[in-house]
């Protein structure tokens, strides 16, 4: 995963609420099997003249500034892949859809939640086409006029982005024994949760 430490870029203002995953990445493109090259489908139905990400200088923005509940809707990780492939490394919003938010951290994209005057300042800077610096080490956004806006982020999310960590690899390295022990316990306390292979085979066979 690509690391995230600090970026400086202008920020594209897409100041609407509840932009859902079907807008970010329309369902018909979910038929594509690879995760590379999805950037061209981002916001597909909204693209073209007048759309902020097609309007220079915002077409090269690495930061997206948006409203409440960004990424609400489906679990499709393509909604993050498409933004990342388009070069968006940071999304600043008043709030996020939950699954979208957690998907960001698996893909080197930093979601930042801001509200009130802090968000107003970032929106104003975005609309004025002023460059912002998003500094994950210091957990802040720096505005060109010298103001610094702090943001909250869970420690492990921050560390994962800073190091470009692969979560699955870490779990296997650190917790393989605990997982095996849990399975032992489960077998004793809730044995019905283990599915006999014969039942699964019968089900698949019955289906055929």
């Amino acid at each position: 995963m690509e690391k995230f430490t600090r970026i400086t870029s202008i920020a594209a203002p897409l100041l609407e609420n509840a932009i859902d995953t079907d807008i970010i990445f329309p369902a018909r493109f979910l038929l594509l099997l690879d995760r590379e090259g999805l950037g061209k489908y981002a916001f597909n139905e909204w693209r073209g003249e007048g759309f902020v990400l097609d309007t220079p200088p915002y077409d090269t923005a690495q930061i997206l500034v948006t409203g409440e509940n960004f990424g609400t809707g489906s679990s499709r990780e393509q909604a993050v892949w498409t933004l990342a492939d388009k070069g968006i490394r940071c999304v600043v919003a008043r709030s996020f859809g939950e699954i979208f938010y957690s998907n960001c951290f698996k893909n080197g994209v930093l979601p930042v939640r801001l509200t009130g005057a802090d968000m107003d300042a970032v929106e104003a800077a975005a609309e004025a086409q002023e460059p912002l610096t998003v500094d994950l080490e210091d957990r802040c956004i720096r505005l060109p006029d010298g103001r610094t806006i702090a943001f909250d982020i869970a420690d492990h999310h921050r560390r994962a982005l800073l190091a470009g960590l692969d979560e699955v690899g870490t779990i296997l390295a650190d917790h393989a024994e605990s997982i095996a022990r849990h399975e032992e316990r489960r077998r004793a306390s809730a044995p019905w949760l283990d599915l006999p292979q014969a039942k699964l085979d019968a089900l698949a066979e019955e289906s055929a």
């Binding site: 509840a18 079907d22 690879d34 489906s74 779990i171 296997l172 393989a176 997982i179 289906s207």
Partner: protein, 467 residues
């Protein structure tokens, strides 16, 4: 010590490890695999040369991309065909049980999980699909995950998660005639908003719940994600056990007795404290329809399209204005004057036997309006077979509906069933997002009987006038 909630009890039973900062490594008892969110997760195993740890805790089915006209029709969409074939190859490689498209066990993941007894009370269940919240109807912790998390479940049978806050929604007062649980959840979302549940696991309780069938509880939990919450739950009871007994993957004999004894303890303690608690009186509800492009933009069928100029909040007003432009609606229009072109009855929200029965009761002896094209899509092959056994297909066909094979169909525009630009649809699905049912398509969400009423009259209609 204060009591614990149902969610907390199940969560604590599944913690494998604690992380600094409060996250847990959570064991996953069940993983439903489908074609859309799995190819990249299987690719992760390949790239890292990792085995799939517990294939016996997975079942797989292709539902999103499959055509629903199958017998005698070729698989027309090359991309969709390739995606379904890729799933089949992947599950064969890793030894996962697979329900093929033309088999009697095929269906939407969220219909066949419960139907096969794969979904059980007290378990943790995930799927790369946000409507996984459906399974919480059985008193388990079930939630949608992204593709990277699917890879984590494949390789480790665990995922790292933060525990949610808890919210109890008390539904009291019972359901008036013509009002269903779909109307309840739509009205609830209209009240608390699509962000209202973010960060919470919701447990539904109250007198209205206890009388609901498993199908209705599934509809309720299914739509919980549209309130922003990944988890919706109902404590298991006799209704749950009766539904599960004798299912192919349900425990049997002595194991069944043991399981039921354990499941009977799965409820929130009397003195459990929830982070948020709301009470919602269902006794005076009217049938609901959505008029906008987010599920919270919903109102009673007796109402009118709202006027954004009369909404004080600027953000909300602007969103309403944009939604109405997309929907081609004028403020002040009576909702029951809005004509529809298409009707869709189906999906993981309302594609079960009880839903088809409710729609058929309205359609019996009536005809679909001439201007309307209507399809009924059973959520699974088992639902279709059961519906045909009681003659429901004849009611649909006689009324002028098309009767299809199982799949996600017109809920999501990634198979052959979709709206054309500008078409307006009365739909029993879960999302009215822009383009959700096809580019430029306009969706009105409602219950199965309300969709049947719209099919008959050719406009959004109050089903109570037809009962």
């Amino acid at each position: 010590m204060t009591g614990r909630t149902l969610y907390d009890k199940i969560w604590e039973q599944h913690v494998v490890a604690d992380f600094e900062g409060g996250d847990n490594l959570l064991y996953v008892d069940r993983h439903l695999v489908q074609e859309v969110s799995s190819p990249q997760a299987f690719a992760y195993l390949r790239q890292n040369n990792l085995p799939l740890r517990r294939p016996d805790l997975h079942i797989a089915v292709a539902d999103h991309a499959v055509p629903t006209r199958r017998k005698g029709h070729p698989f027309a969409d090359g991309l969709a065909k390739r995606q379904v074939e890729r799933l089949r190859e992947n599950v064969e490689t890793h030894g996962i049980a697979y329900m093929p498209m033309n088999g009697d066990r095929h269906g939407i993941v969220h219909v066949i999980g419960p139907e096969t007894g794969f979904t059980l009370p007290g378990c943790t269940l995930v799927c790369g699909d946000s409507h996984t919240s459906t399974h919480g109807a059985f008193g388990c912790i079930a939630f949608g995950i992204g593709a990277s998390e699917c890879a984590s479940v494949f390789a480790t049978q665990t995922i790292r998660q933060a525990r949610q806050k808890t919210m109890r929604v008390n539904l009291d007062g019972g359901l008036p005639v013509g009002v269903t649980v779909k109307d309840v959840i739509l009205a609830l979302i209209a009240e608390i908003g699509t962000g209202g549940g973010v960060g919470y696991a919701i447990e539904y309780a109250g007198s209205t719940i206890r009388d609901l069938s498993m199908e209705a509880r599934m509809t309720l939990c299914n739509m919980t994600i549209e309130a922003g919450s990944r988890v919706g739950m109902v404590a298991p009871d006799e209704t749950t056990f009766t539904y599960l007994k004798g299912r192919p993957l349900s425990p049997e004999g002595e194991m069944w007795e043991r399981a039921v004894a354990a499941w009977s303890d799965l409820k929130s303690d009397e003195d459990a404290v929830f982070d948020r608690e709301i009470t919602f009186d269902t006794s005076t509800l009217e049938p609901q329809v959505s008029w906008g492009t987010t599920p919270e933009q919903t109102g009673a069928i007796s109402g009118v399209v709202p006027d954004p100029d009369r909404i004080a909040d600027r953000g909300r007003a602007s969103r309403v204005r944009k939604s109405l432009a997309y929907m081609g609606l004028t403020p002040g229009t009576r909702l029951n004057d809005i004509p529809v072109d298409r009707v869709f009855i189906g999906s993981c929200t309302n594609g079960r036997l009880e839903d088809l029965r409710a729609a058929a009761a309205v359609l019996k002896g009536r005809q679909v309006a001439q201007s309307v094209r209507a399809i009924a899509v059973p959520g699974s092959a088992a639902v279709r077979i059961a519906a045909e056994a009681e003659g429901l297909h004849e009611v649909f066909l006689a009324a002028g509906f098309e009767w299809r094979d199982s799949g996600c169909s017109m809920c999501v525009a990634m198979n052959d069933d979709r709206l054309e630009e500008g078409e307006r649809c009365a739909s029993t699905s879960n999302r009215n997002f822009e383009g959700r049912q096809g580019k430029g398509g306009r969706t009105h969400l409602m219950s199965p009987q309300m969709a049947a009423a719209a099919a008959v009259t050719g406009r959004l209609s109050d089903v109570r006038e037809l009962l």
